[in-house]
């Protein structure tokens, strides 16, 4: 009797209490995880963005106009622009070629090629710069030939473009190759059967199909090329008004305690890269749409 009295409420409690704690714990876990994620991203990413915006706004407009009037700063933007443009052209054109080979061609050592494509992602930019010095610098493998022909590679634009290309090689290939594989060859074969030349087929069929992936890769390369500093620092010799890029200008500004103009150039670079990021998000979505249809 007394035993049944004691045991009677127990089962109902056993059924009810986990259910109560289920909703509560779900809310707790849900809220806790979301808060953790938001806090982490907020502290790590958002706070520094606000920090630089405040730091760049504080000295006022006069610093901005003074920095933009500085011939060294202008030249630095120009050098960065030239390097970025050349890098984009090389990595986009040759990147599509490599992607075509990786996606359509079957040969021994293909997986090795695909590993080589990813290598630049693993290599420190400083080591890329070092490689250029070892190849083209004093006592380098190719130095005698280029000196004999009067071509200045190291401490000049050619080596700066070369290291930036190296670093940006994977981006277009990694976007375009999977896209080509996913798209298949049916449309291309149809075009060929209907009498289009390989080149026409590429221009009219393949290129329109891969355009969003290609743009996505190009945007990633652009962001990387604009911001490259380690490799370029080593090969350029950082000659102000000559081989100094925008990032190297920022680095020098902080070395010389001209923080204000350093902040200005850094903010312009950050703004451009955030615009690129917006482009990247759009291209990514368009690419996904192409794949899903």
């Amino acid at each position: 009797m007394s035993a049944s009295h004691v045991s009677a409420p127990a089962p109902s409690e056993a059924v009810r209490s986990p259910r109560l704690s289920e909703t509560a714990s779900r809310r707790l876990v849900h809220g806790g995880l979301t808060a953790t994620a938001l806090l982490y991203v907020g502290l790590l990413v958002v706070a520094p963005l606000i920090g630089i915006a405040v730091a760049a706004a504080k000295p006022g407009w006069s610093t901005w106009s003074a920095t933009f009037a500085d011939p060294d700063a202008r030249h630095a933007y120009l050098v960065t622009g030239v390097i970025t443009l050349e890098t984009i052209v090389v990595t986009a054109v040759l990147g599509v070629v490599v992607a075509l080979v990786l996606a359509r061609d079957r040969f021994a050592g293909r997986s090795l090629v695909s590993a080589v494509v990813n290598l630049p992602l693993a290599v420190s930019p400083v080591i890329v710069g070092l490689a250029a010095v070892l190849l083209f610098g004093r006592g380098g493998w190719f130095e005698p030939w280029f000196t004999a022909h009067g071509i200045q590679v190291i401490f000049a634009l050619p080596s700066m473009v070369l290291v930036t290309v190296f670093i940006c090689i994977p981006f277009v290939i990694r976007e375009v190759a999977p896209l080509l594989e996913e798209l298949g060859t049916e449309e291309e074969e149809a075009a060929r059967t209907l009498g289009a030349s390989p080149f026409q087929t590429f221009l009219r069929v393949t290129l329109p199909n891969i355009r969003w992936g290609l743009l996505y890769g190009v945007a990633l390369s652009t962001a990387r090329a604009l911001g490259e500093v380690g490799a370029v620092l080593i090969v350029s010799g950082t000659i102000a008004g000559h081989t100094e890029t925008a990032t190297l200008y920022v680095l020098r500004a902080f070395d010389e305690s001209k923080d204000a103009s350093g902040y200005v150039v850094a903010v312009t670079l950050a703004l451009v890269s955030i615009l690129l990021l917006a482009g990247i998000e759009i291209f990514k979505r368009k690419e996904e749409k192409v794949l899903s249809t």
Binding site: H30, V45, P48, G51, D105, V116, L119, P125, S273
Partner: protein
């Protein structure tokens, strides 16, 4: 008429190496593309890395001893590895939480958070360093407050850590996210319905699925952190034996015209990150093959 001839010639002219019409031409085009792709990757990627390996490891054990006898080299390598390991660990945890929240929960601003996670991909690494100086430097409100309370970020190890956490954040999130998206939610729900607790579901269902993704993301973060230069160089202050990382030391050695010493340390760094990326390829490649099967 002449235009037509011009257009048709390349199609109809029998090429010396071909007997049929279209197949051999395709083969020629294929060889051309393959040749261009291999030449591009060979000259731009394989050759520079061969230079690093041959200069760095060319002297065998002696060159390794040289590398470690450089002042500060041992400490720099130890610091770099320590920081990279910490960064990989912290971001493996928080990156997985963020990936989970982004894929499984719906909340206001989810898209914005997802974009913010990509910000470190787009922002130039040097600008990352500048942002951290702007936020935590002694001249800023936040930095001043922290320094008064004994927390030193700029020119200290903590600054290196924060910079590397920022730079590598997207790597883990973007490696774990696809695995979560692919994973069947029914499994998680089945475990819950069958009475498994939250922790048991996490341990027995979720983590085994995510393990290779988390490890791959962590290793990518580790490899990236090993080589990072731009984000670290401004923040760390590069104090010998204290906050000088291996990539910054390499840069200093090269600009100080000691490329041999730089090559020895660079080869160690390269070997380390190369090995890591090979492991990652294996982990991620394995998963991809599994999901295709």
């Amino acid at each position: 008429m002449s235009a037509q001839t011009l257009e048709r010639t390349p199609l109809d002219r029998p090429e010396p190496r071909s007997s049929g019409r279209s197949v051999p031409r395709v083969r020629f085009g294929r060889w051309g593309l393959r040749g261009v792709a291999l030449l591009y990757l060979g000259l731009m990627v394989a050759l520079p890395l061969a230079a690093i390996v041959s200069k760095g490891f060319g002297g065998g054990v002696a060159s390794l001893r040289d590398a470690f006898s450089q002042p500060g080299a041992r400490q720099a390598l130890a610091l770099t590895i320590e920081m990279a390991a910490l960064v990989a660990l912290i971001n493996a945890v928080f990156g997985t939480v963020i990936a989970y929240v982004l894929t499984r929960y719906r909340f206001v601003g989810r898209r914005l958070v997802s974009t913010l996670v990509d910000v470190p991909f787009a922002i130039p690494t040097l600008v990352t360093g500048v942002m951290l100086v702007a936020l935590y430097g002694p001249n800023s409100a936040v930095g001043g407050f922290l320094v008064r309370h004994g927390v030193h970020i700029i020119f200290a190890k903590l600054g290196i850590l924060v910079a590397l956490l920022f730079v590598t954040l997207p790597l883990v999130v973007r490696t774990v996210q696809p695995v979560l998206l692919e994973m069947d939610r029914a499994e998680e729900e089945a475990a819950r319905v069958l009475g498994a607790g939250r922790l048991a579901t996490l341990r027995k269902v979720l983590l085994p699925h995510l393990r290779s993704g988390i490890v791959a993301g962590g290793l990518l973060a580790f490899a990236r952190a090993l080589g990072e230069f731009g984000a670290v160089v401004i923040v760390s202050g590069n104090i010998l034996n204290k906050t000088l990382t291996a990539p910054v030391l390499i840069a200093q050695l090269i600009t100080g015209f000691k490329p041999e010493a730089a090559a020895a340390i660079g080869a160690i760094l390269f070997g380390l990150s190369f090995g890591l990326v090979l492991i990652v390829e294996r982990l991620v490649g394995h998963r991809e093959r599994e999901s295709h099967a």
